[in-house]
Symmetry: C2
Subunit: 435 residues, 2 copies
């Protein structure tokens, strides 16, 4: 049974704070093992990769077979049924269109002092994308990571995906091809992250690594951060649904379960102002949990971390949502747009009853890599920005330097940075000496 909270109960604040503080993840401490793996790959390159892949993935590789050949990818993608290929292509097209709209503009202007200022956006040269093997090897995640990189203009995009026992997911390879991935390697785990960060004779290093992975992959990403960029370390998935009584309880129950089925540590929360609707959703969830193929996972998540919160009105719902800062937020009210301005912190918002969160996972266009564990308070989902960086530009004319240089001299003196000040003074002197 999920947690039941009522904003009018005397103990609500305490119960809600406990809900916010719930620890849903036990990260095993694998840091020492990961440090050894990274050192091994840095030291022995391909030989270490091959040995570790034999040990962990039961795969015998050579430097020649570390990378999927084009012919191998051709053969695999040919196995994908036409319906799935078409769905993947539609998803890719929509994700590409949305992320193309995100591309930021360069700027250049001259201000009142005559200073010429601005910035330029440039793409990372090379990015690496980790794709998990086995059950969590999602072609949709590959599209969500790879397409923003390619839209941003990353020239070289390398994917690593473990193929335990040699099993490769044809849909993942097709997604890679559709997204324009340049290289795909049959390696996984911390050793793949080490190879992407430091390079081996076969795998050139990249500048940034994104993509989800298990505890070993996450620990390795933390370790190589600084040498390369990384994306956020994602926690288990979450959904918050704000719904009034005028909704189909079955649909909302399915939306809650679509997060719960990801992971026993996922969290699904319903906030509503209708006790009757709350009960109807809870009943619908119970029915679903007798039929869903992943009922064991979804049921554990719902039982351990699920919650139903009764509120007085939708303004209260928005305020609680802001404290939760959910990864996914569905707003199923009569006028969802009216509530939107009150939402301050959320990874992605799905408006109205015709927008199940699953649309966002696959086909809507926005990214499904989103901040978890309340980090939407301070961070955003994956975007083209993750594959771009901004260089600021300044150009002074003699006039501009005359106008603002003296203030720089004063500030440099106040910070006791003499050469800073002199670099301005020397130029101003020459200007004042000029006829």
């Amino acid at each position: 049974m999920p947690l039941h909270l009522n904003s009018q109960s005397a103990d609500f604040e305490q119960a809600f704070t406990a809900l916010l503080g719930m620890k849903r993840e036990d990260s095993p401490d694998v840091d020492a093992i990961v440090a050894d793996i990274i050192a091994d790959v840095r030291g022995r390159g391909d030989a270490a990769l091959i040995e570790l892949t034999a040990r962990f993935d039961k795969m015998d590789l050579t430097p020649e077979t570390l990378r999927f050949s084009d012919a191998e990818i051709d053969a695999l993608v040919a196995q994908v049924p036409a319906e799935e290929a078409a769905a993947l292509q539609l998803a890719a097209d929509r994700i590409r269109a949305y992320h193309t709209a995100q591309m930021p503009q360069d700027a250049r202007w001259t201000d009142e002092a005559g200073a010429d200022l601005g910035w330029r956006w440039t793409a990372l040269s090379a990015a690496g994308l980790y794709v998990p093997g086995g059950l969590a090897s999602y072609p949709s995640s590959l599209l969500m990571n790879a397409i923003p990189a390619k839209v941003a203009g990353v020239k070289r995009l390398a994917v690593t995906v473990p193929t335990p026992g040699g099993a490769a997911n044809p849909l993942v390879l097709l997604a890679a091809r559709i997204a324009g991935v340049d290289e795909v390697y049959r390696v996984g785990g911390a050793q793949a992250i080490a190879a992407l960060a430091y390079g081996t004779p076969t795998i050139p290093p990249v500048d940034k690594i994104t993509g989800p992975g298990n505890a070993f992959v996450a620990a390795a990403k933390r370790r190589v951060f600084g040498k390369v960029g990384i994306d956020m370390i994602a926690g288990p998935s979450e959904i918050l649904v704000i719904a009034d009584g005028d909704n189909n309880p079955e649909w909302i129950a399915l939306d809650l379960m679509s997060q719960a089925e990801h992971d026993a540590s996922a969290q699904s929360i319903l906030i509503t102002d209708s006790p009757t609707f709350a009960q109807a959703v809870e009943d619908a969830v119970e029915r679903l949990l007798t039929t869903l193929t992943r009922a064991d996972i979804a049921g554990a998540s719902w039982r351990d971390f699920g919650a139903i919160i009764l509120v007085r009105d939708m303004a209260e719902a928005a305020a609680l949502s802001n404290r939760i800062a959910p990864e996914h937020l569905e707003i199923c009210t009569a006028d969802p747009e009216a509530l939107l301005p009150q939402i301050e912190h959320a990874g992605a918002i799905f408006l109205g009853q015709w927008t199940p969160e699953a649309i966002g996972d696959y086909i809507g266009g926005p990214n499904h890599v989103l901040p978890t564990a309340r980090s939407a308070r301070f961070s955003s989902g994956l975007s083209v920005m993750d594959f771009l960086k901004r260089t600021t530009i300044a150009r002074m004319t003699p006039e501009a330097l005359r106008a603002i240089g003296p203030a720089a001299e004063v500030l440099a003196a106040s910070e006791s940075l003499e050469a800073h000040g002199l670099s301005v003074t020397a130029r101003l002197k020459s200007l004042n000496a000029a006829p």
Copy 2:
């Protein structure tokens, strides 16, 4: 003597790779101490802060004096000479104008499928800014961190600054007031970071912490990352000057020294196509090192990490600059704009001989918090973006769901996520059942 490289030498590639790989920082391992301090502040709150401040800063505080009162700030800022106050105000105005231009736009549109898509930018609710005490307590850094936060719309901006022995820097307090900082606390070190991240009865927690600090502060920021956001961990400063022979060697020498004087681990590099000019700059640096007040620091940096690289032409200079990915890049050539499109990776660019890098440190407008240690390959300087997050928005109409929902069903099935698919199927069924 700095390193001398010539791109036409047989051993150039080897020497340049060694230059790129130079380790300039020894980070002492203070992680265990920092972990204890954070646990102490989480457990005992203000009492721990007060005790640690007495131990490290020789200051006796009470919960009432942890925070600077308005009257205390009034008294301190009244000590600032008018000329310095005016310079600080001009810097603030220029930084505010530049960062206001950075503010990104919200977007909302309807695509061909009838899907309503977009995003909204919202500010972080609360941010914390660490300001070092003592010599490195720079008012300019306070402006560079605080103004972007306030331009972004951060409602609550708290500053922590250690005041060893009770000594506060009036200019730092004035900078805080000019920038619109809401709260200033007399604490420093890992204990300040712990207080900002987890909160104490006196210091409410924030959502993100930025600002430079020593090894303890850096280790604490790494530890609280995830609970709150953090900015990049900055390394020692760097400058790369690309200059042709038609420059004043004294000016370029001053620009190189203005980084070198920051820190013995700083790095200053000159790339030029003129051997005569290279020698003239080196001679000018030697002369400066006999007079500069910080000659010991600047000299150590120049001797241990400085470099002069002779190239055939400016295209080669740009290519080498991209491999260095400098924090600061000055382009002092006849036509600096012509070289600009060839620069792919740099934190900030200063164009032409009238734009010494020091202008950017204080008064230009762009931020001086920039990526170091080659991280300009994958990251950007501080900006309003660091204090904003983007929430994606999607709203389907029944028609849009009909158009793209079936592809989501196919992909959900291919990933064996049944509830994902059913959440779409249930809605499509009702649409198809409708008259």
